[in-house]
Symmetry: C2
Subunit: 332 residues, 2 copies
């Protein structure tokens, strides 16, 4: 009967971290075009905290009571029509929910091979951060070799991913964090210009560091007044991409500055995208991001892993905002 059930971390009722519990649930079966992945590790994301509190709408078709937006593991069963995967292949990817489980079922074209040289458990918290960073910075902001990029919250999971992708792509990196120790660790990962982001003079420091020209791209994981600051230190034809707004959803912007810089501000979110876009992103990442990671020796920065029974503690650590890099749940 082990085949028919599996363990998952379930939300007992909406509330604090203590509402998470490990429970036996039915093990999903792949449809004809689907693969099932035996999950080695399930990454944590801020959206999981919102979902636990009942403040995140779960996409149609995803389990409402099992959080988790990403996974990495080994394919253990494939549907009759699947061509690209076989049992034993290492796979990772995004899901709309249900990632905190021993197995996930996904369309075969949504899964991404785990880059060679990256451990399967370490890959568990890789897809959301790296795909978010790569999609925002490369596909949307069109960062080019030789350009410069400013990354806010450079010590976060998305920030450290953006930093490594930018470096591997030949771009100059500037980054902010309110936590000096995170800046030190980002510098060890290759950050070239480290700027404390707590006060309001960081745009002036960015201008200084770029000889008054400003940065070509901003990856903004902070939001609020940071976006107004981005506009003050962006180069002509600069591209600002807003990926998160923990500092606030509202900001004032100077439209004349936007015009004279000929700059753009773009908002983005991965989770709400329709299937065809998620597949397109997975295929493009397989084609370009995975080889880039393999060639550049990318390091998914894992802060700590937890057994499923300690999911509540993992959520508490994420809520504290003290982690540098990602957290994940590991299935033994």
């Amino acid at each position: 009967m082990a085949e028919r059930s599996m363990r998952a971390v379930v939300i007992r009722e909406f509330g604090g971290p203590e509402v998470l519990e490990v429970r036996e649930v039915p093990r999903p079966e792949p449809g004809p075009w689907e693969i099932r992945v035996a999950v080695a590790a399930s990454g944590l994301n801020r959206a999981d905290l919102l979902q636990r509190r009942g403040r995140y709408p779960v996409p149609h078709g995803s389990p409402a009571d099992i959080p988790g937006l990403e996974y990495a593991g080994v394919v253990d069963r494939v549907g009759a029509l699947v061509r690209d995967w076989a049992p034993g292949d290492r796979a990772m990817g995004l899901v709309g929910g249900g990632g905190y489980a021993e197995a996930v079922v996904v369309h075969e074209r949504e899964a991404i091979p785990i880059p060679e040289g990256i451990d399967t458990v370490a890959a568990g918290a890789l897809p959301e951060a790296w795909l978010t960073a790569w999609d925002a910075m490369v596909l949307q902001a069109d960062l080019q070799a030789g350009e410069s990029v400013l990354i806010h919250a450079v010590g976060s999971g998305v920030g450290t991913a953006a930093l490594q992708i930018a470096r591997a792509s030949g771009a100059r990196t500037l980054g902010t964090s309110r936590t000096p120790s995170k800046l030190e660790r980002a510098t060890a990962l290759g950050l070239e210009v480290a700027i404390e982001g707590g006060d309001t003079d960081w745009p002036a420091r960015v201008m200084d560091a770029t000889g008054g020209r400003g940065v070509d791209v901003v990856v903004d994981l902070v939001g609020g007044a940071y976006v107004a600051g981005d506009l003050a230190c962006v180069a002509e034809r600069g591209r600002i991409v807003v990926v998160g707004v923990p500092a606030g959803r509202e900001t004032g912007i100077d439209l004349r500055r936007l015009m004279s810089r000929r700059a753009s501000i773009t908002g983005t979110v991965l989770r709400a995208r329709p299937l065809e876009e998620k597949i397109a992103l997975a295929r493009e990442a397989t084609r370009r991001l995975v080889p880039l990671m393999e060639r550049s020796g990318a390091v998914p920065v894992v802060e700590r892993t937890f057994p499923p029974e300690q999911a509540a503690e993992a959520h508490r650590m994420m809520e504290s905002n003290l982690n540098f890099g990602t957290l994940s749940i590991v299935w033994g």
Copy 2:
């Protein structure tokens, strides 16, 4: 000696419309790569009003005391290396300044042929409005056939140009104006959904008119709080382009809305662009915009023309904001 001098409208000193006067100035000679155009008409633009008051920086190499950002006329002399133009050709285009004159000299690749079917005098106020509209709506916002576009200040020179380009390109058109008579005239030009823009419920009307989906592109010639409104009625992956900010340079924006819509806000300005970009725009417009205008029977909407001696009156009319379409100075 007529060859050595020409008439121009000159700013005597910074101030009101009365500081404009007609004066004899040296007639420019084309360099080896340049053409000289005997100007039939010189279009008026809002920037001319700012320049007259000393509040618009004149680009390097343009005359400081002769306003005018556009011209149309007939080539009367070409430099020794010019290949694409011959005396007698009808030409139009943008200049950094000095357009209010009987002759302008431009690099041969900056000039654009006047579309067949459009009168040379009517073309005088065409380049700035049509290139601005086309660049913003098509090249930057990437408006596609089958999409919808909202045009603010649809009765202005840029607005009526955007309207006609959008219709000729197979897009659905929505437009706002604070002046009901301008909406009527825009409707006669083909505007499909006319919305009074004075109050604050226009975003709701746009949502109604699009079945709750929102518009794919916004061409915003107004700025200020309109941009926050744009974000309230833009479709998923919608593109907002800010082309002017007469209603104010500051606005608050909802970054979470920007993210969930995956929308972008881009600022643009033509005048400050470097030569290579102006040439690229002129070549692309020659290749695509001119044929589109010829095929679709485009109508440059000219409100009124003035002899150079009445330049002050022309400025007064532009300042009153009552004109539907463009104003220009005609050289007899």
